[in-house]
Amino acid sequence: MVYTRKDVSTLTRAERRRFVGALLELKRSGEYDDYVRMHIEYYTPDGESGLRAAHMAPSFLPWHRKFLLDFERALRRVDASVTVPYWDWTRNRTRTAVPWTEDLLGGDGRRSDRQVTSGPFAFRNGRWTITAGVTDTEYLMRDLGRSHDPLTLPTSRDVESAVADPLYDTAPWNSTSPRGFRNKLEGWGPGHPPASWRNHNRVHRWVGGHMVSGASVNDPVFWLHHAFVDLQWSRWRRRHPHARYLPAEPPAPGDAQHGRIVARREKLPPWDVTPQQMEDHGAIYRYA
């Protein structure tokens, strides 16, 4: 049965409550933190050696699609009615819009220490202590809009500039790839910040706090953000029906990217799936 991922701004009160409840249950059981650790482990930058699957690579999109699917599966074991909603940050652009409400993800961090003090994930409620972090901070942190040097969220035009590119990705298949949908959406732009922060990366920085660290999964907005990023891949495929995931074949021996990226029919660690198998999600879920 194909299920639907909805725009978070359209969730009913009951749907919000059940989504938050499932998140809190996975946190209580300890399973949530396993996803935090996995994201940290797989964030290998492209200046390091070895295979990189999750970031700065063509498989950024299929890796996160599978990561979300696994997490969503866990949520649905808790409550079969729940799916991961998406946050359309081209429309819900302010610090008080959804999903930053009391009944969803809570609001901004406080100015003094960026601690989130409202909503279900506030530290004082005792149900969202950070245990798998890259600092020793125990409370969830946000700095929506980067208060000390304000930053705007990407616009629909920014997203369109990525979706319009018919090329999925291109050499050198990393954060310096000058063209291609993948890097334009992942958002490693040329030049200097903040102009170089594009789409996906820029949203991580706009949320701030935990979302700029390798432990960004600690903020549940991670899932809503990546659902919207995933939706852009679906839109790109509809827009360019003959375009495919690239590279189709692994880089040859001697190529600087040989053994360092995942080609279309290669296994995508840590799973036993290939990018090709992740291209069409139509049998599992759809976006409303």
Partner: protein
């Protein structure tokens, strides 16, 4: 989409060794990367300063006789706690604390990490093992794998 049974991740031996070295604070950068256009040698061979009330230090080890930055390995600390650095393909540096941006030098990456840490937070590893990056090196032993990676039954 076909979604077959999964297999759990097994960090490579190389990664285990790297993270193990990081854990002991003997090496601050990861493995060298192939040279890329525009890469320039780090300006600092050593730095120590107080930045926003935090003591940051850095020292490079292993730079080749030609000063090849690809051989440079950095050990960086904040108030004595190891702050592992990683490299981007363009030769810039990043840390786990500030992981969606990179900086031209290790010193700038360390300052940016302090900006994120604020006045008191310390760089640490998951589960509070201060300075011990257990992920990668210890995940298979220390932390559970998400259930789906074990059982792999999907929609």
């Amino acid at each position: 989409m076909t979604v077959p049974v999964n297999s759990a991740s097994k960090p490579t031996r190389r990664r285990r060794v790297l993270w193990g070295l990081l854990a002991t604070g003997t090496m601050a950068t990861m493995a060298p990367a192939p040279p890329s256009p525009g890469r320039s040698a780090p300006k600092e061979a050593r730095f120590a300063e107080t930045y926003r009330g935090r003591r940051i230090t850095g020292a490079s080890h292993g730079a080749g006789p030609s000063g090849d930055p690809c051989r440079a390995m950095w050990h960086v600390t904040v108030d004595g706690h190891p702050l592992p650095l990683m490299r981007r393909a363009d030769g810039s540096w990043m840390t786990m604390v500030d992981h969606y941006q990179s900086y031209p030098t290790p010193l700038l990456a360390a300052r940016a990490a302090v900006d994120e840490l604020g006045p008191t937070a310390r760089p640490a590893a998951p589960d509070g093992n201060d300075g011990r990056m257990v992920h990668g090196g210890g995940r298979s032993e220390r932390s559970r794998t998400p259930k789906d990676h074990v059982h792999g039954v999907h929609a």
